[in-house]
Subunit: 335 residues, 2 copies
DNA sequence: ATGAATAATGCAATCGTTTGCATAATAATA
DNA sequence: TATTATTATGCAAACGATTGCATTATTCAT
């Protein structure tokens, strides 16, 4: 048998479809008796309102789009999970888009969202063309997470302050010869901010030395690259501490050093970024910076909903947390 | 200005809406000239077809629902990513639902999918009430992934065969005292299958000893549990090899043994399951079983689409791959 | 050139809701 | 009781697309 519609419910309950609609949405005055009848009929028929029809009529979909680089990344998947949670409990539905690498797949993805008439979009992380976001934000409510785009409300982490603090406490812990080893960046605010924070700290110390290595191929699982890098470059330099821009690099360094017979943290201290699950169980466990994905997601979502409901919104910044573990011995009280 | 509709396009192009529709869907005969005009008008207006309207009219949404325990799990997030990929390139949209723990959130999630009129659903992994799936499968096309439900097409891994093979090759590599350390199971086919495979192999050997420990609290990141377990129980037993039912347990064992001064793999060999990213970089790296999430997702999706299009479908099984690494020294040629 | 077949297009109904307006029923007030 | 507010309901028109049927324009064959 066909799926029950509001008409069927109306017929069974002996009222008009308007009444059924009103009972079910429950925001107008309805006599208790009819409400009862309607609810009974709906229940009996197993009536499920048709979202498409409602969406068409009301010109809003109660759905949002979420664009992120790849949903299988540890951080992003946590965001996905959180957003799903908040969205569902607010009666919203979520469409995810992986921006991937190329602009064309991005545009295509955004088009899917547009076609579906999402009420708003959240863009999380880099890798998505800024001008595209700008463009979209004129048509529909947009919030960016972990990234800033001009004239678009954003939710970001305080990377710069955190890395400055981290560097300072390493200095206070006695380290003097620093190596900053990070992914190269162009306009990725969070990466450049991390490096900026490093410099903020270093520039205050005249008895500290700092070298920087920025590499494109460091990210992802290309740890062998780190290994080479370690053998070729670091051995000449021999820093006392290596500050990296993500945990995978840090783990790569640790792994490489292990194979070269260099002891971590005894000979070289290493810090990461992201607090990946594996970092806690690594040997040695990785001193790193934790970013609260759930918090980011929550604020992004709430901000977006406020925008959709035409409430005033503003950007926000979330504090990161430095997690001290074995790979870098940060002295008590230096944070 | 309002978003352009098919009417606007029709007016600009000087044709009827029917014609516009036909041009854009491109499956009926249309003169080249009008097609040209229509396409030009659509382009000029930035026309984006309204999915809700189409969905309403055609009674299909070109969308599917995917229900999984949690989208942030490493394996599941890979599935999510893959499904997104295949779905989008087939013109489908995806709604994810986290089944979480309780039945109520499951039912709620499924309701969301029903309301949205998804054309089909994929249920991946355990934790979702089997009878609920049965129920749903009467209303809409359903495929299960990494799990079997009566009368529902499924895509599963050959857990039993794989673990049997793994056990056999460990035996052939010289191990005799086995410990199977896994999550306890009730109806989770994959877990019970793994254990069954272990027994399949062991039962053939009269000179091998096997102990089994099944624990509820082993899964997830409760590695301290493993640690306790290791100290209290295993030390009395002292197996030569430990076969675990997932990588986290294996890593926990490795980590615990390290702290107890037991050398792995020299004193005890350990195998995991899942081939998590971290397992490759662990020290020692973890011998494990890889399950191809992308393959699973692809077959699930294709099967579902076949069902939706009323083509005949059948269940399939995917071979797992044993990945030999440092934590368990499987001899060449024993596989 | 004339009728038959085919190709192009338009008309209008339809999908399932919601909602402004009108009306009927009820309650409050004078 | 007559009159006015208030509360409950129904009617019917949207929302934007698709599609069966009817119609017109075109092509083809004889």
């Amino acid at each position: 048998m066909r799926k029950a519609t509001i008409k069927d419910v109306a017929k069974i309950a002996g009222v008009s479809t308007s009444t059924v609609s009103r009972v079910l949405s429950g925001n107008t005055s309805i006599s208790i008796a009819t409400a009862e009848k309607v609810r009974y009929a709906a229940e009996k028929l197993g009536y499920i309102p048709n979202t498409a029809a409602r969406c068409l009529r009301c010109d809003k979909s109660k759905s949002i789009g979420v664009v992120l680089p790849d949903i299988s990344g540890e951080f992003y998947s946590l965001c996905a999970s959180s957003i799903l949670k908040y969205a569902h409990s607010a009666g919203y539905t979520v469409l995810f888009i992986e921006s991937g690498n190329d602009l064309s797949s991005e545009t295509e993805g955004v088009n899917i969202l547009l076609q579906h008439g999402v009420d708003g979009m959240i863009f999380i992380g880099g890798g998505i063309d800024a001008s595209l976001i700008q463009e979209i934000s004129k048509e529909v409510s947009v919030v960016t997470g972990d990234r800033k785009v001009k004239n678009v409300p954003s939710v970001t982490f305080n990377n710069r302050v955190t890395v400055k603090k981290l560097t300072q406490s390493l200095y206070k812990s006695g380290f003097r010869k620093f190596l900053y080893l990070g992914e190269s960046f162009n306009s990725f605010d969070n990466l450049s901010d991390r490096y900026a924070g490093f410099n903020d700290a270093i520039n205050n110390y005249h008895d500290a030395t700092a070298i920087t290595i920025l590499e494109d191929s460091l990210h992802g699982d290309k740890l062998s690259v780190s290994f080479e890098l370690f053998e070729n470059k670091i051995s000449e330099i021999m820093p006392e501490v290596i500050i990296t821009s993500n945990d995978l690099i840090a783990q790569g360094i640790i792994s490489a050093s292990y194979k070269c017979g260099i002891k971590i943290p005894e000979q070289i201290a290493v810090t990461g970024f992201d607090d990946m699950t594996s970092s806690a169980y690594y040997t040695p466990s990785v001193t790193t910076v934790r970013q609260d994905a759930d918090k980011l997601s929550k604020i992004c979502f709430n901000t977006l909903i406020d925008m959709i409901e035409n409430k005033p919104v503003s950007s926000s910044e979330i504090n990161q947390e430095i997690i001290i573990r074995e790979s870098a011995d940060i002295k008590e009280g230096t944070l």
